[in-house]
């Protein structure tokens, strides 16, 4: 017979298995009960908390998702699912900045473990969506503020020249003012992402850029897919290439970060 501690662990593990089975059958109540029992037996296992959070998420019970995930990331600060669902829960209650931070943490830890997994893709999608919405809110506010300021400036200019016969210089100054304000709004106008920030395979802005010995940069998940399915060569130079030769391109990653910081519209996913 197993002794106290280990038997609790074994029992909890069995309860988790049961919970997973219930979850698969979409019996969420039963799954939650099983995970809760597992947690009671072994409260220090982060997976029990994230699995229960997943059930709460399916029920749109976001307060409980947040609670369970907080516990999970306390126990394991690298818990990808913990940070991910915590981020979603925070976004649900409009804690945008904190929510985005949690999603970013999830992405960092997720990429570290499995750079081209479906989880990483899913987290990225959610993060991009949140970032895009953040940009929409902020840019609307910015544009409203600029518009107000512009109108005040125009009124002030007209008043300053008033009834004088300086019509020409007034209209010149008004035209200049228009230019200045157009310039100030430029960053918020969606245009094209520069080619050097886009992968030559996805044609999309980089997320996790890696550089090959040829000096070319590709999206990590996609170049890995190419090396596995098409062949062991650099897609552009056709030089022999192995996955182990790929190195993260930190300079491009920073450049992408700086670009997105200024041009949040580029987070738009189709």
């Amino acid at each position: 017979m197993a002794k106290g501690v280990s038997s609790a662990a074994v029992q909890a593990e069995q309860l988790k298995q049961d919970g997973n089975l219930y979850f698969k059958k979409n019996r969420l109540g039963a799954a939650i009960d099983a995970y809760t029992e597992a947690i009671t037996l072994c409260p220090d296992v982060p997976v029990y908390w994230t699995n229960r959070a997943l059930c709460h998420r399916k029920r749109n019970d976001w307060a409980r998702v947040e609670e369970d995930c907080l516990k999970a990331v306390q126990l394991d600060h690298k818990s990808v699912k913990g940070h991910y669902m915590l981020g979603l829960a925070l976004l649900q209650r409009e804690k945008y900045t904190e929510g985005i931070k949690s999603l970013e943490r999830a992405l960092d830890h997720g990429r570290g473990a499995h750079p081209n997994s479906y989880m990483v893709e899913e987290i990225w999608q959610e993060l991009a969506k949140a970032k895009y919405q953040e940009w929409e809110r902020d840019s609307t506010k910015r544009s409203w503020e600029l518009q107000n300021l512009k109108e005040s400036c125009e009124i002030a200019l007209r008043e300053k020249h008033g009834h004088e016969d300086a019509a020409d210089s007034t209209s010149q100054q008004l035209a200049d003012l228009k230019l200045v304000f157009a310039k100030a709004a430029e960053a918020d106008i969606p245009t094209e992402v520069p080619d050097y920030l886009c992968c030559k395979i996805t044609l999309d802005i980089f997320r996790d850029p890696v550089i090959t010995p040829s000096g070319l940069t590709y999206e990590r998940a996609v170049i890995l897919d190419h090396l596995e399915k098409v062949g062991k060569f650099d897609p552009i130079t056709r030089e022999t290439l192995f996955p182990s030769q790929l190195v993260q391109n930190l300079a491009i990653k920073e450049a992408v970060g700086a670009f997105l910081e200024k041009h949040g519209w580029a987070y738009k996913m189709d």
Binding site: K200, I201, K229, V230, P235, D270
Partner: protein, 161 residues
């Protein structure tokens, strides 16, 4: 017998759709010289008009390319054929199949519809004789069941025409 083109009929993956939308946008802004994309709402099959380059054997001739994209484009090459009548060329069969390595073994996901078009036009332009490949009759007969050129085991012709 199952249709050999069935595999290419599978819906495009998300990555493929995203990439083709980007290619189409780029094409609309900056189309390769001598080509015209015929607008349809079908992202998976593009029909492209090719004009023979001036000063070549095919000047003033117009042909049509049909480009079909597989589910996992660009990890797999698109299927590119001429819609008959195909240009008379030593590497182009009368059923429209094109013997060009980049469409098969030498495909790379960094290539685009636009770069493929340019390669095909350059193949036409460098031709010094208007004739079918030697094995045209045999090859076309073998393809009668609707076989895709992507299933052919190509033995690539010389680069020189």
């Amino acid at each position: 017998m199952t249709s050999p083109s069935a595999s290419s009929r599978k819906a495009l993956s998300k990555i493929a759709t995203n990439r083709l939308q980007k290619e189409l946008m780029e094409w609309q802004v900056n189309p390769p010289a001598g080509f015209k994309h015929k607008v349809t709402d079908n992202l998976q099959r593009w029909v492209i008009e090719v004009n023979g380059a001036p000063g070549t054997l095919y000047s003033n001739e117009t042909f049509q390319l049909q480009v079909d994209f597989p589910e996992h484009y660009p990890m797999e090459a698109p299927q590119v054929i001429f819609i008959p009548p195909a240009p008379l060329h030593p590497h182009i069969y009368s059923n429209g199949h094109i013997c060009l390595d980049i469409l098969y073994d030498s495909w790379s996901p960094a290539m685009t519809v636009s770069s493929v078009c340019i390669s095909i036009l350059s193949m036409l332009s460098s031709s010094s004789t208007k004739q079918r490949p030697n094995d045209d009759e045999r090859y076309v007969k073998n393809c009668r069941n609707g076989r895709s050129p992507k299933e052919t085991r190509w033995w690539f012709h010389d680069d020189k025409v």
